[in-house]
Symmetry: C2
Subunit: 513 residues, 2 copies
């Protein structure tokens, strides 16, 4: 930027800045529409065994709905056997109730170009969710703040291959627990125009999320359309607590989507075997989604699964492992047999740094997410240290790798141009293709291009400072944050949202636990 432009930007009025800003738009790829098959690792017999066993679990063992007399009443009315907080569900009932859930739904964004279709052959990518810490190369590991939260929303907005702004991209620990959901939702709504997730930490916060959406999208629009997809964890094994279910009830009643997701570290919250874990996951999701349909028939839901393995020596959770991959593939098959959208996770790693371990484990989980038929992939970028840390560098590294999923999923073109017979004729034995007509016509879009990774000659790389991937990513983080331009928003809506947040915050004392 030259001096005059700098002066104008600094000194110019709001109108000038708005005009400048509205001209900037960051490209976001459409959600992935798969043109390649899924990997089906379980055969029909295995799937039937798991489905039968899951029905046995529901009928004979049952699930607990804790502190939730309303839920128990709904289950009783539906024909379940309720004894205390234990709900035993006769064979077939849960599956039957799940049938009213839509096979696919649209989650609307405030920018219609960013709407996503969740279900079918589609894959929607969303960033890391939940870490209390952040890490960057210069600052190291530290508690996350609201400034970090805003930075991650900005990075997500600017990431071409990321379709969704996510939810708790990190926990803003400098904002009171009972108020931070307001700042988080506000950040997603104003700093990005991609779809996002609502708060689930209290039913009242889910309600606040709905009300803020009513300001952003209009009340009628929200009642008729899905504008949030929120994460409802099941307290595995087989337990549905009142906080999570209370939030699910708010969202389901308001026609907003919930991911109903067992949270399992294998060997701790589920059996140490893959088949046993699949059985428990299916039983839990059947019960959870059936319940969502008791609350409101037709409420949009996603068959979720957060599953990792465990290091049986230390008890530490492990990520990107083959057993977790097998479970992810298997759950995909179970979800498809129910005709429900499927959520899993990518970008998983247990590493403390965005290093080789992070790369191996993240690639393992990203690839299996694509091939297991996932429709909504949470944690697709930025996850570090078993989910304790949101990493700035890993966010942009993973987000870059998400481009490979897009290319892979597109499948192989077989049109005449792709067959390239003229090129093979033109070049012939012993020639080379670099200058041939077919290469010239196609090279720009032939291969996926990284924005982070390095392919320079060794000597150039040394001259540039012998940087590893973390260092290269750090440069990109800084550039993206410095290039960021806020998407435009109707000033009246913007003011109404700020007023809502201010009023809500003023209405309650700070709480930090």
């Amino acid at each position: 930027m030259n001096d005059e432009a700098t002066r104008k930007r600094r000194g110019g009025g709001g109108a000038v800045r708005r005009a400048e800003r509205s001209s900037v738009s960051f490209e976001t790829a459409k959600y992935i529409e798969r043109n390649i098959p899924n990997l089906e690792i379980l055969n029909e017999e295995a799937l039937e065994i798991i489905e039968t066993n899951a029905e046995t679990v529901l009928a004979e063992i049952g699930v607990n709905f804790v502190n939730n007399p309303g839920a128990l009443a709904l289950w009783k009315d539906a024909g379940a056997d309720v004894e205390g907080e234990r709900v035993r569900i006769p064979r077939g009932l849960a599956r039957e109730l799940c049938k009213t859930a839509p096979r696919s739904f649209t989650q609307y964004a405030r920018n219609p170009a960013r709407n996503v279709e969740i279900g079918g052959r589609n894959l929607v990518l969303a960033p890391v969710y939940g870490p209390p810490f952040v890490h960057d190369m210069n600052g190291g590991r530290r508690y996350a703040t609201m400034e970090d939260f805003r930075n991650f929303v900005k990075l997500g907005y600017m990431s071409k291959w990321l379709h969704h702004s996510g939810g708790t991209v990190c926990e803003p620990t400098d904002v009171p627990v009972n108020k931070r959901h307001l700042d988080m939702i506000h950040a997603h709504m104003t700093l990005s125009d991609k779809p996002f997730m609502g708060s689930v930490t209290e039913p009242s916060r889910a309600q606040d999320s709905v009300e803020m959406c009513e300001i952003l999208f209009g009340k009628e629009f929200v009642q008729n359309n899905t504008v949030m997809t929120s994460l409802i964890n099941i307290n595995s094994p087989l337990t549905f607590d009142d906080v999570m279910m209370g939030s699910l009830e708010v969202y389901a009643r308001n026609n907003q989507a919930c991911i109903v997701s067992p949270f399992i570290v294998g060997g701790a919250m589920a059996p140490v075997s893959v088949a046993g874990t699949l059985t428990q996951v299916l039983a839990e999701v059947l019960a959870g989604i059936a319940y969502s349909q008791l609350v409101r028939k037709g409420a949009p839901v996603i068959f979720g699964a957060f599953v990792t393995s465990i290091d049986m020596n230390s008890g530490a959770p492990t990520f990107g492992t083959p057993e977790a991959a097998q479970i992810t593939y298997g759950v995909g098959q179970l979800a498809r047999r129910m005709g429900l959208p499927y959520r899993s996770s990518g970008g998983f790693t247990g590493s403390k740094l965005p290093d080789a371990q992070a790369g191996y484990e993240s690639s393992n989980s990203l690839n299996m997410g694509l091939l297991s038929g996932v429709n909504f992939m949470l944690h697709a970028c930025g996850w570090l240290e078993g989910g304790l840390v949101s990493s700035y560098e890993k966010f942009v590294m993973d987000a870059d790798q998400l481009g490979t999923l897009h290319s892979m999923a597109a499948g192989i073109s077989m049109d005449e141009n792709a067959q390239a017979m003229d090129a093979i004729r033109e070049v012939g034995p012993g020639g080379h293709y670099l200058g041939c007509a077919h290469t010239q016509a196609n090279f720009k879009n032939a291969f996926w291009r990284t924005q982070v990774l390095d392919y320079k000659p060794f000597e150039t790389w040394v001259d540039d400072g012998s940087r590893d991937t973390m260092a290269l990513a750090s440069v990109r983080v800084k550039k993206m944050l410095s290039d960021y331009v806020q998407p435009t928003l109707d000033p009246a809506i913007s003011e109404a949202l700020s007023a809502y947040v201010a009023q809500k915050k003023a209405s309650m004392p700070d709480a930090f636990a």
Copy 2:
């Protein structure tokens, strides 16, 4: 080791040392027998288009057999149209000739427990091949020496998940070009007891490889059994040079296996499109394997493919990319339709360091290798910087990840123990599985365990020095090399091998180019 033991080892005679050594054995997992499906990304119509186009390439464009009148004569006799060095092969002829190649073959190792079956649903993993440089964390990047070569053979011997000792694990640049094959083969034969690859850099060196095998295995055994699998690259596009074909002729005549492998950087040696590259790969392999069968009907071969994409800005090859993955999946389907064993590559990366880029790209290529039905995976560990560098740390990092392929390929057990219904009953809603009977009975073998990656709590990791994966791998490299014990070998054979190498070396002047 206590002082007395140290003294004994240092001071003891040969008999004592031999006794100690023969008692040590390093575990090697059996080659992978897949119990999961392959990913089939091309449909029947696409496969037929590629097969038809490949026949068109052979019939109308043809291939060159350079400086090889014998090959041209064989092709003419077989019914091809030979014009100068150009061989045009009528439709169907090459495919027909390929039918005499075995669908699967055993490569024998001097330790029968290490024999591998190449073909069918099996996957044999072999290390990096060809780099002139090595890299380790402390010494950085430097020209490879014979000492490095021996070290990599030792690491391969001690790597549980690696089935094959490979070939040129690095180029020993301190040994004359015309003699280094002798030291390399000698190292594989004496420092490891896993199967290995022969020399291909001159037909005479292939012959030396055969003769050394005759010493190790016995002359008759070698004539009747396959004891080497060697790498014959095709000079893409569509060119078969006399050096590589001369080596193929030696091996085929001696019933030894060849990997017939187009060497392609997409956009340079093949069309810039996936479908076009698949067509050229198939045409080249059809011609190459047909030729092997003209040399000797029934000679064991592998359908090879070394394919990477290119950065069209810089011309640098790129690795672990989606287009290379699509080609690898597609070639697997083409090879299976021919009923031939399939070779591809894993552990690919363009990175200069064993960092996150190396992890992402290597995992991408290792996973696709497993799911594309590869039977022989070269470069499965140790590859760095686009194949210019063999990395000590990456060798053990990759070799560790190869364990995940074993677990993944094993598929999902569905027996009663794996169904774990008793465990789910025992634990019930809200309990945990850590102490239950099923977990106690199964936890030891439930999950794959890393020997390199870190899952410690953050504080412990900091106390241990905040090491990244490269640093953790460096520790393991040192430990493995210090724990290494040479496998026993009949002293008479050992002496005969050394004498052969000494005599051969004495028979020619040094050459360094």
